[in-house]
Structure formats: C-alpha cells, structure tokens
Symmetry: C2
Subunit: 360 residues, 2 copies
C-alpha cells in the first residue's frame, strides 16, 4: 500500500493539527500506520501559494518525495461543510477566467464641461461593453459559452436531492434577505447547481474612472473594467477567452467607436471534477459513516482551489476534498472558529480514512 | 450713470489687477472715472464659493452695496479667449445636473466563487442602467431631453461662421489625436455647437466597486454610478431630473431585477444665455474694437459659472463675460501663465469699456 498525500492551508490550522493528532493516535496505541503518508504543509495560500505548484510538480517525479509510483491517493482538507453539522466530501470546484477590458479615448483626463459633447468618451463605451456580458438574472450573454458546459446526468441530479441545504437560509447568509429577499433561483437543486456546476459572469469594478465620494465632473481618459467567469467542466480557458473576445469584438463593431479597446486575459484556472464513486471517495465515505453514523453530503464548491489539479497531475492520483469545518467557521474573517465537536470528529474521520484506504 | 459691478476669481489674479490698473490710469491722468464702479473680489471660487451667492443676494437689495437701482451692468472676467490671440465676449454657459445612481444587492460584499450564479449582482444592473443613457457618439438616449433644447436660430448660426477656431487643433488639445484621431463632429460649427449649445451626458465613474489594480473577485454589495448632464437654454433642472428618473425607472422595469435602485440628483445649475446685441455687449465690443482693431469672437462656454446668474438676478442687470487670457493659459494647472501682451491689452480694454458704457 503506497502513501496518500495530505495538505492543509494556513487558514485550516485545525485540519493540519487534526492530521497530526490522527497519526499520533496510532502511535500512542502502539499500532503501525495503516498506510504510508507524505504530508505537504502549505503556509502561503492566502499569498497566492507562490512557488508551490512548481515545487509539487518537481517533487512528483520518480524517486522524489511525491513520486507517482508511491502516491496512490491525494487528500486535501481546505474547505467546509455545506451546513453547520453534516459532514461532506467535495468532488468538484469551479475554475476562473479573469479579464481586464480597457477603453482609452485620450492621452489626458478631460473636463466634461469643456469637452463633453465632442469626444467619444471611454466610460460610455466601457459600460456598453460590460452590459453585453450578462443579464440581471445571471444569464451569460456571450454566444457559445453554454455549449461548453457538461450536461447534467441523472446520477448527478440525484445527488442533489439528499443534500442538507436550505435555500432560504442561504438567502440570509448571502445578506440579500433584507435587500431584495430574492435569489435568482428558488429550489435547493437550482441554487446548488448554479453555485457549483454552471458557469457565471461577475463584473467586479472599474479602474481609472472616478471612484471617490462626491461629484467630480471628469471624463476619464482610460478605464479598465474587471470581470471574470467561473468556469466548470468541460470548459477550457482558451475557448472561453476566444468566445469572450469574439463577442466583445462583435459588440464593439456595432458601436462604431473610434476609441482604443483592448481585452487582456489576466489569469485562469481549470475547473476540477472527480467521480465521487472512485476508490478514494469510497474510503472517505466509509470513514465518515463509521464516525458520524450517516453518509456525507457530496458537494462541489463555487470557488477555486487550483492546487487540487496540480497534486493530481503530479502524483497521477485521484484527490478527495475532506473538510472538518462548518460553513459558518468564517474563513479568513473576523472571529474565525472551529467547533470543538467538528474538530474531534474530524480527527476521528481522518484516522478512520487511513484505515479505510488500507482495506480497499 | 449708475455703477457696473466687476468680479474676478482667484485663478484670475491678472484680470483682478487689470481692473485696478484701469482705475488707476484714470486717476493718474487726473480724469474722473466715466462710471461709478462697485467691485466684488472673490477668493474662494475653487472651493465652491461658499456663502457668495447668499452674500450677493443680500447685497442686491435697496440701499445695499449692489442695490439694483444703482447697478445697471454686470461684468465678469473669469474665462478665456477661444484661441491664443483673438479676444472674445462670452454670452452663454452651460448648466449642470449631476446624478448618483445606486444599486444595492446585499448587506455585504460577496465572493464571486461562492455566491456567483444565484445572486442578482448590483454591478451587472448598474452597467446596464448606465449604458442606456448615452450612445458612443454622444447621443443622449433619455426620451424627451432634446425637446427642451432651444432651437438654433439663423442669427446664432451666422455667429459661428466667423469664429477663429480650428477643429483640427482642438483634437490635439483634447489629446485624442494620438488615440482615436477622431472627434464626434468634424466641422468648426458642429464642434462649437456641441460644446456650447447642446446638452451632453458624461459617465464619470463608479463608487463602491473594485477600483484598484489587479484582479479581485468580489461581488460588490452596493455600487453608485456618477453621471451628469450639461444643460443648455431652455432646459430646466427639474424637468431634466424628471426625464432621467422616468427613463431609468422604465429601463429598470424591463430588467426585472429585485435589487434596490435609487437615483439622487446631487446638484444642479441653470445654463446662462445673454443676447450679445444688448447694450452691455455693445459697450464691450466697442472697447475691444478700439484696442485691438478687430471685432471680438462671440463665444459660449461648455462649463458653468453659476455666480453669473446670481449677479444678474441680484442686480437686475445684464452681464457680459469679458476675459483677458488665452485658451492655453492653463487655468488651475501646472505653469499657469498670462501672456504679457494680453495682460496689457486687457487693461486697455477694461478702461475703454468704462468709457464706452458712459457713452451708451
């Protein structure tokens, strides 16, 4: 039996220590570890994990620490339960394609009184381009984008039915209950699918325009809109970039603006998806059932953990995301916490998972 | 003969001193001033002239310093020639209506990975609303706005023909020659009319969204778009505000967004227009012709000098804008200057204007 690899990020000191407690439990009991373990502790996730992908790829070669011949399974403890109590295993993450869309109309900022009316204004063009990307109800208006999305299978649809999740509670967590009191979707299945397995387009802001308080009458000379698409299987960043570019070029052509328009793809990451019926997930599910007496939710996440794919590719092994924290732990936020019950049960699950892996 | 009133703002120290030199010239020559003068020196124009309108209105009452019974003409030296050499008289200014358009979707900023796809995003709604205001070619898309604009008369059109102005040079001054190398209009008359006597709509920026460098993936909870319309005779700010509100309400209704949308009219000022054939302008024209040997350009300005209307209403008298500086003096900018020739000729024009007023 070859060793699994474990990682935990700095905002998950609980899970990191949890793995050490699980190992110590075997030692204190005088039992041999059921599998060999290679640990990767990461302390810079919130600073972009500079160098980590390169290091993992280097270590994932024959004779090195993460030799694909000796690493059969990968496990990452870096995410959270869907709710506060029921444990989960996570089998999917969305990727991301981030764009900088720039329109330039002059070499200098202009006064709207003196110049307004005769200059093609960059900001006028930018808001028109941005408004062509996505509807108020979140529908992506870029032709071809939805063609890339993997269709929903019956097996996948079935997984959503049993998930412990309340769309009403989510509305409160999202802070919209006292504002619009409406999400785009109302059923549990729709809300989860549109957070996990469908792409989205968000407009984050504008650089270079007037962004302060008050009432400045400037015509900004050059403005950059920032937007991104969360991508899902089977979307490829290269295809997404091509479709976005073709769409914006086509809208731009209809506008007849003589201004300078440029689109820059800033960074991108692939989505991740692992069949939750694979051996690694079976071991993890068995461990959860042994400790909690219930089957874990099978979840995906709307965000990205790009290192997941790096580990899988370096070790040539499947990864399971095995969290120990609750949805309200407040990752990276004020008063971040970890419930004592979840911590202790999490340690037990980690230890049981090692045993389950050995018995596969 | 009752006294005219003169003002000059701090960025026009040249004109202010020019008026004092003109008065001193009469004193040194041992001649009586041809008219009585009441001066108003203003030192806070760049700080919003706080208190000045109130003061002027208080002084413009019987028995006070700006008693309408003794003030027959108003003259302000606060603007510039259209070009660098040829003097002008200015008979029109645009007003301004500034708006804050806010869309709110949540009580907190959200993560586009975790929440993207199920929340109606404020920024998506805002760019759609802003894109409905004005076309890339500067056409205001708010129904009814152009109905308020005074039609162009033949006499007015004729005035544009002789004006010393180069659209090509203006393109360079506006900094667009090396970017798009195209203004919205190409003829001298069109460029001037669209800077002076037609309204415009400019989008200045967005408050509350991501405005920094880099690639942040936030969904901003509340964003405020800033835009303004430069207004012209016969537009009323109240009507403009009503039309803008009706238009945005109607676009908003088609969007079907449950978010909170609010429009706030932040501040407004009326346009100003004075018939350049009135007595005050005749005296000013006569003074320019006497000193320069040519007739001045008759110009308008795209910006606003709200105090103009306040003086006229307080004194119940017509105002002429009589500048002494060139278009490239760099008002409020680095290396602000006043050409010596313009300064000396300006002083002569001021003195001649006093004599011309007396001979009306």
């Amino acid at each position: 039996m070859a060793p699994p690899t474990f990682t935990g990020s700095t905002d998950d000191k609980g899970p990191v220590l949890g793995w050490l407690w699980a190992i110590e439990a075997y030692q204190v009991l005088g039992q041999a570890l059921p599998v060999n373990i290679r640990c990767v502790f990461e302390g810079m996730e919130e600073s972009g994990s500079v160098g980590l992908p390169k290091l993992v790829r280097e270590l994932g070669t024959p004779g090195k620490y993460l030799d694909p011949d000796v690493c059969d399974f990968v496990c990452i403890s870096d995410n959270y339960f869907l709710g506060k109590v029921k444990p989960c295993l996570t089998y999917g993450l969305r990727g991301n394609c981030y764009f900088h869309l720039t329109v330039e109309c002059s070499t200098k900022d202009l006064h709207s009184g003196v110049m307004g009316g005769v200059v093609h204004e960059a900001m006028t063009d930018l808001v028109r381009l941005l408004s062509s990307l996505v509807s108020s109800a979140g529908q992506i208006l870029i032709p071809g984008i939805m063609d890339e999305v993997a269709p929903v299978t019956e097996a996948e649809r079935a997984m959503y039915r049993d998930i412990d999740f309340s769309a009403e509670q989510f509305k409160v967590d999202a802070g919209v209950d006292t504002v619009s009191d409406r999400l785009i979707y109302s059923t549990k299945e729709e809300v989860l699918m549109h957070r996990w397995r469908y792409p989205t387009c968000s407009i984050h802001g504008v650089e270079g325009a007037f962004d302060g308080e008050g009432s400045k009458t400037v015509i900004p000379r050059k403005v950059t809109g920032k937007f991104s698409l969360r991508i899902v299987p089977d979307m490829q960043p290269e295809t997404v970039e091509r479709l976005v570019r073709e769409h914006l070029d086509s809208v731009w052509a209809t506008m007849g603006s003589p201004n300078r328009m440029t689109l820059r793809a800033d960074k991108s990451s692939l989505a991740w998806y692992r069949d939750p019926e694979c051996a690694n997930f079976r071991a993890a599910r068995q461990a959860v059932e042994q400790v909690h007496g219930i089957s874990p939710d099978l979840t995906r996440e709307g965000g990205s953990i790009p290192i997941t794919r790096v580990f899988e590719e370096a070790c040539l092994a499947d990864c399971v995301l095995l969290p120990m924290g609750a949805c309200d732990d407040g990752a990276h936020s004020q008063n971040e916490k970890l419930d004592r019950t979840n911590y202790i049960n999490g340690i037990k699950v980690f230890a049981a998972y090692l045993t389950a892996l050995a018995s596969l």
